[in-house]
Amino acid sequence: MTDRIHKSAIEVRDVSKVFGAGDSAFKALDHVSVDIRENEFFTLLGPSGCGKTTLLRMIAGFTYPTDGEIRLYGQNIAALPPFKRPVNTVFQNYALFPHMTVGENIAFGLEMLDRPKAEISARVEEMLALVKMGHLKDRKTAQISGGQQQRVALARALAPQPKVLLLDEPLSALDYKLRKDMQIELKRLQTETGITFIFVTHDQEEALTMSDRIAVMSAGKILQIGGPRDIYDRPAERFVAEFIGETNFLKADVATVADGKADVVLPGGTRVCARLAEGFVPHGKVTVVTRPEHAAIVANPDGAHLRGKLSSVVYVGTDTHFRVALESGESFCVRRQNSLEQGAAFAEGDMVGVVLETGAAQVLKD
């Protein structure tokens, strides 16, 4: 770890949430703990029903934990109603007040805090400028486009200068192009305002693009927390590896373990040095994962990590996808970026070798 000490904005301590009771009880969150640092862009990533929205709603105060503590700068806020928490939310459907203008929407939170009129109007102008919506101040929210509504929702939530901004899949209603723009915009707003953002999404690309750190969630649990690179390059569990990007899974046997690395024997008998999640000591039969772009196809199978027959070669513009049927019966995918100077040409049916980059193999915990 780095020697810099990070101040926690939100500390979630052993939080559980059970909906219903008895046989129909559903555990939405199962003893979740996470620290979210000040000024970071933190993403809760997972499929629908994984508990990410429940956790966000709990931080906002729309639902209360069955068990555990939620601390905001050290203060336990788990039992506070939402209107007493210095935390604001950007809702999935924006939830703009339809009977108010853009300006009135942005002013709402400050009015509820009983701030002086002059301060409110100055802050509204500032917010309008921040999201580049100054010219639409007096429009009703129904008269502006989806992307503009998104900006108003952001401005409204940022206006009271919350300690933490919560974003509940705010980009899911936008079309692809606009979503791309807003990703950059969100990152800019986060940097400019210096406010801690907690972002909920099921879109792995969105998470990788914007986040400082990501928590991958499944079935009410946080499986892995780390930077985009950690999550992508070094998935600790099968679910994380499967959920984010494309991955090759190989069965392997652990030979030796030392210094957070393991020598494993791949199908076909070759040895490779694989990385391990922190503090994890594997033994016996394990699963090793490798991203398709962290391996290369070679014509000479001798000395390669894996051997097999090319079962398909697919050109997809930026890349070429090779699928190798390994002698062990497993299938392995390799992705090669295309350039004008084509490398060696391969055809379906060729016997080829697969070479893994150093550090490309990662041992899964399960």
């Binding site: 729309f62 509820m112 939530a157």
Partner: protein, 269 residues
């Protein structure tokens, strides 16, 4: 041959225009006749004897008609107001909550007056109120207001609930997120958005109360005729175009209220 790609359209069926015209004719002919004969100069409600506003003047100068009208409006205003307040609270309580066992029973309970035959309620109230009258000695308009309030509640409740259900619950959540206490969230967000529903409920309740005969007839004490019960009483004697004149005014008033509501609610949206 009809185009096979065209979907079924009732307007293209044989005889549709005829049926439609006949239906409208039958619906509105009696009303049209009533309105026409309110301008009849003679005393008959069936033979035309010339155009005149005589019966409108007659009704206007008839103290009993004026008195009954004022009483009707008083009762309707009080009952509609109370019923709307109660219905608004009931609608908020039944929509701003997660579904739970017994919620459907509550809907049914609130809407009971729509299902129970009016005559049953009328008789029940007659017996019930007469006991109270004997016990307290009070015999004012309060009984009529209470009775009208009771049957007006579901009429006020339905449009308000419909409006609430179409309203996004996340708006109130957003208000709470932006530091609005429940009361301020209600005043600044829920109420302004609910307003058209409340107005619709109020007007509907008012018209329903104004129109009531059965319950009023049973509950009223002597000298407490409302306009409809007065008219009913008159019909037992000689029927003159004065009844037509009163009905015509009644009709215009209803149309005015509905039109006013239409414009108010359109502006609010």
């Amino acid at each position: 041959m009809a185009d096979p790609t065209e979907t079924f359209d009732v307007r293209r069926q044989a005889g549709f225009p005829t049926v439609a015209v006949v239906c409208f004719f039958l619906l509105y002919l009696p009303i049209a006749a009533l309105v026409v004969f309110s301008f009849n100069d003679g005393t008959s409600i069936a033979t035309w004897e010339g155009l005149s506003l005589r019966w409108f003047a007659e009704a206007w100068n008839n103290d009993k008609v004026v008195e009954a009208s004022i009483r009707s409006v008083q009762i309707a205003a009080c009952a509609a107001l109370i019923a709307t307040v109660v219905a608004t609270m009931a609608a908020l309580a039944t929509t701003r909550t997660r579904n739970y066992r017994g919620l459907d029973a509550k809907y049914a309970f609130i809407n009971m007056p729509l299902m129970v035959p009016e005559i049953v309620v009328a008789v029940a109230l007659l017996i019930f109120f007469s006991r109270i009258k004997m016990a307290t000695g009070y015999s004012g308009l309060g009984y009529l207001v209470a009775a009208h309030t009771a049957f007006c509640i579901p009429f006020a409740y339905l449009p308000i609930r419909a409006r609430l259900e179409s309203m996004d619950l996340s708006l109130e959540t957003a208000a709470a997120d932006l530091y609005a206490t429940p009361l301020r969230a209600f005043r600044r967000v829920t109420l302004p958005l609910l307003w058209p529903g409340i107005l619709a409920g109020l007007m509907l309740a008012f018209v329903i109360s104004l129109d009531d005969v059965v319950i009023t007839e049973f509950v009223k004490s002597g000298g407490q005729d409302t306009l409809p019960t007065y008219m009913l009483g008159q019909l037992r004697r000689v029927v003159t175009p004065e009844m037509n004149a009163i009905s015509t005014v009644f009709l215009l008033l209803s149309i005015a209220i509905v039109t006013a509501f239409f414009f108010i609610s359109r502006k609010k949206d």
